[in-house]
Symmetry: C2
Subunit: 314 residues, 2 copies
């Protein structure tokens, strides 16, 4: 069974795409099994329950040389700990190509669309395979989640078409109401410890000259209830400082995205981060918060601006 | 105009795929122009003449940040000299993924098939675009060339289907006769200097631990007339030794593939190469020649065996 998995700190797309791709590969003659690389956020259980699908198991340790399929990521820092020793045979992803290499020619499908599931739908249609209801629910939810129901600037016409195609199969009549239900589930953060909130959708990136690489932790909280998050601002800033020290990072930032308004107010834990945020985004930090306006996409807006800032430093 | 190009020392697939992909991208709304990264071999002019298509121009120097599309390769050592500074937006390839990375999410289409043109045909069919006669001739020729008319172990059912689909559009009634004509053109090496023969289909690979990387030059001559090549054995061995010294390589090998019999007798210029060939292929070198039997694919047989040999050395 070919293991199929998405990135660490999985979001709905990472989990849904692993499940759908494992099923597709199995139908196409390559028996495959979906795994996850961490705990679910608060949105994904809602989606799995709607789809009637079990939570995939945690990825076990894999022997060197094991063949694996990746979805929704390709960089080693976001993958299985020994990815460099595994044999990557398949990747479906919508991120920039990072430090992946393969031992043999492989199946790679990358397109600059809003969601990996949009590409998985294309794979079904190109193979002239019907889409089953559970898969449709998973893919529909992933597209709505990754694009924040088309509010994200990463949204493409292909993502909109995917939703229009999938909603009837998933028997979701009111897509807007369904998306709001999903986002409400995601926003119901309860008494989750601040350190966990920070890590829920968190990735480490290396910027600038590899020799002097700046390593930054970039978290995002996408919520319909930003007031709740800012009510816990002091705790979150403390958790960010702790993560920075524990992981030996050069900076940590946490974007708090108001899904419904499409705006991002970023938590900035220290003076050095504030200087970078000012330089990269021309956004001043006041009382630990920088207003990034409509820059809500880590992939398309936050990471490229930081990359450009640190490249210019070299 | 998006520049589209294949690898250095271009073969028929590198040229044909650049032309076909540039045309496809243009039809899909991204104006594109094919280029080449070196002189043509003796097969490609025959193919271009059959297709009624001009030789693409040499790639000019490109400014840093220029968007480019790659076909039939992805490694820096086989590409434009400043590839690391260019913005790769599209890649269609059937080789293993090497040291490529992209600045932004890109279109990547890799599959382990026998020829890049097989993937380009898929792209036409997925987009429901008709295939024009000139493009069909180019793709048909590329598939026949890269798979040695299905003799290469890299051949897949997709390549066979591509030929069956394309031949009627290209108005090639007798595919076998056409392939033989192509291979005869390729084999008509005339009085080409030995140094040029060596470089005609030649790639440099790095094997083993990057810190102690072994850099080897691996040439291939695919011919229906191996007797002609072995008639020039002394000259070729001298050219290989000169290339090794000039490029500071750890070894140079030249496979001489008898297309019609599907066999490979390799020129081995020195004792150190002979030891590696013995260890990696269990093939003794006698009078500068090692018989590799039916191991005719550099991509699928020669490179992996050398990779495995040097990995085991670490």
């Amino acid at each position: 069974m070919l293991p199929v998995f998405g990135h660490l700190n999985p979001d709905t797309d990472a989990i849904a795409s692993a499940l759908v791709y494992a099923h597709l590969l199995s139908r196409q003659g390559t028996p495959a099994q979906a795994y996850r690389l961490g705990e679910l956020n608060f949105e994904t259980p809602f989606v799995l329950q709607k789809a009637g699908v079990e939570v995939p198991p945690l990825l076990p340790a894999l022997d060197a040389g094991t063949a694996v399929a990746l979805v929704d990521h390709n960089e080693r820092a976001q993958s299985a700990p020994n990815l460099a020793d595994l044999q990557v045979t398949h990747v479906v992803d919508h991120h920039k190509l990072g430090d992946l290499s393969t031992m043999q020619p492989a199946f790679l499908r990358f397109e600059p669309v809003g969601c990996t599931a949009t590409l998985l739908l294309k794979l079904h249609r190109e193979a002239r395979l019907s889409v089953e209801r559970a898969d449709a629910t998973l893919m529909l939810s992933a597209v709505l989640s990754d694009t924040l129901h088309f509010r994200s600037p990463t949204t493409t016409p292909d993502d909109r078409e995917a939703v229009a195609f999938l909603a009837p199969i998933a028997r979701v009549r009111d897509v807007m109401a369904y998306a709001l239900e999903m986002f409400a589930a995601k926003s119901d953060l309860g008494d989750t410890p601040a350190a966990e909130l920070l890590r829920m959708d968190y990735k480490v990136f290396a910027f600038g000259d590899p020799a002097l690489a700046q390593r930054w932790g970039l978290g995002m909280i996408e919520t319909t209830n930003p007031a709740y998050v800012f009510g816990r601002q002091a705790e979150l800033l403390a958790a960010m400082r702790a993560a920075k020290a524990a992981d030996g990072l050069d900076g940590v930032l946490l974007g708090v995205v108001d899904i419904l308004n499409g705006t991002n107010r970023m938590l900035v834990p220290g003076e050095s981060e504030a200087q970078v945020v000012q330089a990269a985004f021309a956004a001043p930090t006041v009382d630990g918060v920088a207003d990034l306006g409509d820059r809500i996409s880590r992939k398309k807006q936050i990471v490229p601006a930081l990359e450009q800032h640190f490249e210019a430093q070299v």
